[in-house]
Amino acid sequence: MIILKNKPIKLWILCSLLSFFLLISCLYEPFLSKILTLRVEKTLIAGEINYPPFTPLEVPPFGTDIIGFTIFAKIIQGFKYTFFIGLLLSFFQIVSSLIINSLLIYKFGEKFLLPIFLYFDKLFSLIPKPFLLLLLIGPYYSALSFNTDNVQPQANLKFIIIQLFILFLIGIPNLVKLYHTELTFLFKQDFSLVSQTLGSSKIRTVSYSFRPQITELTVNLFFNILIKNLSLFIYLAYFNLYLGGSLVTKLDESATYTASISNEWSGLIGQNINNLASTPWTILIPLGFYSVLIFLLVRIKRYLMEEGAKSIHSSK
């Protein structure tokens, strides 16, 4: 909690900016969707009726996709899903690895559980991450699209849970390893040896004596894993494995257009991934927002870490 005291003004600005965008995104369904233009099916340009896609100049501010949905509305709507899915996933990964590490500090855990996690960490690092996701999530996606012609919401919920569970499992071994390395280092420190000689149990040493270090590490790892998860979402989108499933729309006899159901940003990128030459704004604008979000998170992490280091230094 030391970290959260004496927040600098820059941190406040960034956090309020993030909260403001989240608020706008949350207001989309009840309020904004009634005001904003959601779809432009045709428009009159220079006396001629034109059909989508429209460029950002024709339909400001960000144009539309092939079937006329405005990118602006989609970006507002999708932000909360992208952010909260990433946040939830990262939160559960951090909590789980903390719980697992509390088992690893005992001899049994260190001898039997730790090698398993180290093994999986090595195994997952050797296979390119996007391909690993394609290997593990791809079959479920194919099974879902082959089994049901009309994708039911229940199936989508099941699919998103499977996707998140696989993403969760892929991230855990590395987190466990990082926590364990830090804990091993801390247990070798003088103050930890003193605390244990005086009779403190291992779990109490971790929860009480190591609290400042563990908090700092957790904040650092939490932001790192959040940024990593957001990157993994784009990898999924690149291979058309939409978070939460997709809906296929028939444009004409031969062409189809796959749209993300959850409307989160990576899905938005994924559904237009093959149209870079024809409608570049449909990919580059969501990607730009994605990069800004990651940039914001990197900055928030940096300020939090700097403040944490200052607080620990001043408390000494």
Binding site: Y119, K122, L123, S125, L126, I127, P128, K129, P130, F131, L134, L135, L136, G138, P139, Y140, A143, I227, L230, S231, I234, Y235, Y238, F239, I269, L276, A277, P280, I283, L284, L287, G288, Y290, S291, I294, F295, L297, V298, R299, R302
Partner: protein
Amino acid sequence: MIKQFISLITILIGIVLLVCLSYLLPLSIEDLGLLITSFKNTIAQIFTYHYLSELWVIYHQTNGAYTLYLISASLAITLFSLLLYSYYFPKFKNRTIVKITRFLEDIEGLPVVGVVFFIHWFSIVIYKETSIYLLRTVGTPNEPALFFPLFILSVFPIVFLIKYMTPYIKMIYQSNYFIFAKSLGYPKPKLFFSYVIPNLLTFLETIMKFIYLEMITVMLFIEIQFNTGGLLTGLRNTQIMPPNINSPQLMVISYLLLLLIPYFLMSILFEIVNIFNSNKQ
């Protein structure tokens, strides 16, 4: 040595199991017997002479040399950039170093796919506006693009390496040995080659392996986006067009093995260097 050999074998078994599992999903969750049968069959197919010769054929057919040449060139560029940075490091002020590290941190977080797409789009725009065909951005497996892939492939490792190595470089330059040698009047280039580089190499071991694996990931997007062909395109294609000749699992394992052979060779090389160094001491 025996421990490392066992670790290598278990990792290879793990890769085979993971690939077999992925081809049986979601069925294998309920039926473990299916997974065991598939695993046994794949292992039996791997240990044949025919399979080894097939690996070589796959390497040639998918233009594997392009992938490995590009990665090697990028590794060389990355190492050279690190050398330059560490040589000129003492000339930078402390504040400049902090600024550089922060800037690199910001870049590092950016999604690779975004950078690949942006560069691709940028070259299209330049071509549309000026009709100048600056550099090849869409190649063919016979005439693959070189400059942009190499540029994208090198940027992220350079950023990562410089960010990661800065504290170590600082530590080396501030060490008592270095300060003492400098005060005795040893020339800077001599100290750089005889003290700084050997000390940096000890930290590079794990990081080079990590960078190689990261490069493979970036290469996947580069190969697909720039249509260059290569081992990773082949790997991705196994998921789109299942091969007719071999079992699909075997093809995936072949590509993964071909990609990981340089990694294992690198590990062995570092191991030999370590053994040599410990004997010397």
